[in-house]
């Protein structure tokens, strides 16, 4: 046994590995149950054929993931929150040889003391998981991550962040979102425990408050949006979570306001900003956001790359070269060739993220495909959003194109006020005139109580876009 599996096996068998509501599983139980399931998987399916693991946060999902690695098969996590059409499309791409398991199947199969042959375990160059992300065509893309990609990420992330041993990690992201790979494997590889927050908790603010009050978290891993949502609860503080001292953020832009809010509620806690696409295994850069950093940068940097990884800007686009870069998209060689090049460990991926380097720090400038043309001007939507968010009393802002007949005819902004403040759309437009050229001014400014979030805990741009295309109700005069 080598690498990642060996690290996971070092845990104290009696230590907690997973906690969800009243259910708990130790590292010893995870080891035994995943051995038994792996023995069944190694017998029943072909090496390399995907094991689809369905569910929502259950301990059985972890048993399924680890068993697949032990059985020499990649796994595909599918959260119950994904829409049925998307699940169908993912299953189609997994092929006929795939084994599909829900929590009940796993509970039935993962019993007894059978073990898979040690030789069955995945080799470093084989695919450990396939993570499906949304493609611009609407069809999900299956990003293949090798065991070497994953093990390298875990080694780096555990070395540069103060995650310690045997600690309690927040799991907010569903397992079908690769942000969860960070909390899941950091916890398992350091003998720690994954403490899962589920969808029902996130949808009911009082249930979330109650769950967090007893979670006794030590390491926080989430999207910034989720932390911003928790900050709206005045009880979210060190008084309730006295041992929480490390925050790891990835998946969207981390704002200075969010970090300041966390510093105020959790004095002495360390807040890290990480960056990376699914295609380069969760994250490849990290930075500790301290007071000096906040004082210096109005927009936070993404941090320095892993020592074994090169991150550079090519024609305004962030390119990643290193051992964490994925082999490519499953069953899509043309799509793969368009954005990937070279061989491991120097494989390269073009991220589609716009960026720049200033004083040695890497900065995110929005998605390249959020750049639009309006009346011939090239416009960066996230640039406008950042300008709006910098205005007094604005908490969050998102800018979207108003599209009619496939053409961008105007811009619309969605803004949320800071606590206790009131915003007026017209007044905001007036203030923006001082900051932006006329062609970048949003035609419509919608003031919302909050921004909708996706099942992954990111701002739901799709839902906002749908509002723009929905038939308009005439405003009251």
């Amino acid at each position: 046994m080598t690498g990642l599996l060996a690290r996971i096996a070092e845990a104290d068998p009696d230590a907690l590995a997973h906690e969800h509501r009243a259910r708990r599983m130790t590292h010893g139980e995870l080891a035994t149950r995943s051995d038994a399931l792996a023995a069944a998987l190694a017998r029943s399916g072909q090496r390399g054929a995907p094991v689809v693991v369905r569910g929502h946060k259950q301990a059985e999902m972890l048993v399924g993931f680890v068993a697949a690695i032990k059985a020499g098969r990649p796994y595909v996590p599918i959260d119950d929150g994904l829409p049925a059409a998307r699940v169908e499309s993912i299953l189609r791409r997994c092929g006929d040889g795939a084994t599909v398991l829900g929590p009940d199947d796993i509970a039935t199969l993962a019993v007894g003391d059978a073990r898979p042959p040690a030789s069955a375990a995945l080799r470093p160059d084989e695919t450990v998981y396939i993570m499906f992300t949304s493609g611009s065509t609407g069809e999900p893309k299956g990003v293949e991550i090798s065991l070497a990609n994953l093990a390298g990420f875990v080694d780096w992330a555990a070395a540069v962040h103060p995650v310690g041993r045997g600690r309690r990690f927040l799991n907010q992201a569903p397992f079908s979102f690769d942000l969860s790979v960070m909390d899941l494997y950091l916890a398992l590889a350091t003998g720690g425990a994954l403490v899962c927050i589920d969808r029902a908790m996130i949808e009911n603010p009082l249930e979330l408050r109650a769950a967090l009050a007893t979670a006794d978290l030590e390491v926080w891993v989430s999207t910034p949006s989720f932390a911003e949502m928790c900050l709206r609860d005045r009880t979210f503080s060190a008084a309730r979570l006295p041992r929480l001292d490390t925050f790891l953020f990835c998946g969207e832009t981390l704002t200075p306001a969010c970090v300041r809010g966390l510093h105020a509620r959790f004095p002495g806690a360390r807040v890290y900003n990480l960056y990376g696409p699914t295609e380069a295994t969760v994250a490849v850069t990290s930075v500790l956001v301290d007071d000096a950093m906040l004082a210096r940068w109005p927009v936070l940097p993404l941090g320095r790359p892993r020592p074994d990884t090169r991150v550079f800007i090519d024609d305004g686009e962030i390119v990643i070269e290193g051992p964490s870069v994925s082999p490519g998209y499953r069953g899509a060689p043309e799509l793969t060739a368009r954005v990937f090049a070279g061989d491991p460990p120097r494989r390269r991926y073009r991220t589609g993220d716009a960026g720049h380097v200033e004083d040695g720090e890497l900065f995110f400038d929005g998605r390249i495909d959020h750049q639009i043309k309006l009346f011939g001007h090239r416009i960066e939507l996230d640039d406008i959003a950042a300008n709006i968010a910098a205005l007094a009393d604005v908490e969050q802002a998102v800018v979207l194109p108003v599209v009619r007949d496939g053409r961008c005819e105007a811009l619309a902004a969605f803004v949320v006020a800071r606590d206790g403040a009131t915003l007026d759309g017209e007044a905001l437009r007036e203030q923006l005139r001082a900051r932006l050229p006329a062609y970048m001014l949003p035609r419509d400014v919608h003031v919302l109580a909050g921004l909708p979030m996706t099942v992954n805990g990111k701002i739901d741009r799709g839902q906002l876009a749908a509002r723009l295309s929905a038939p308009r109700v005439a405003p009251a005069q």
Binding site: L206, E207, L423, A449
Partner: protein
């Protein structure tokens, strides 16, 4: 004369939304987008502070904060 509980709740919801809204006492606050689910907590805390009635997660599930009328019944201790 101090505002009625109804007026206080009404005004707090308008403050939460950050814009002038027009809505009826029976309109569903979350479904109509008047109060986003994540800000419901502020409404719950407001009701606890102002009227001394603490809500639980179950109360949310049972729709006791679904509308201004539902909140008024909750404050008054009436069954849902």
């Amino acid at each position: 004369m101090p505002d009625s509980p109804r007026d206080q709740i009404h005004r707090f919801i308008v403050e939460l939304a950050g814009e002038e809204l027009s809505f009826g006492d029976d309109d569903n606050l979350v479904e109509r987008g008047l109060v986003q689910s994540i800000r419901l907590l502020e409404l719950v805390d407001f009701v606890a502070d102002r009227f001394g009635v603490e809500a639980t997660a179950d109360d949310i599930y049972r729709g006791r904060f679904a509308s201004v009328s539902a909140i008024l019944r909750f404050i008054a201790g009436d069954p849902a």
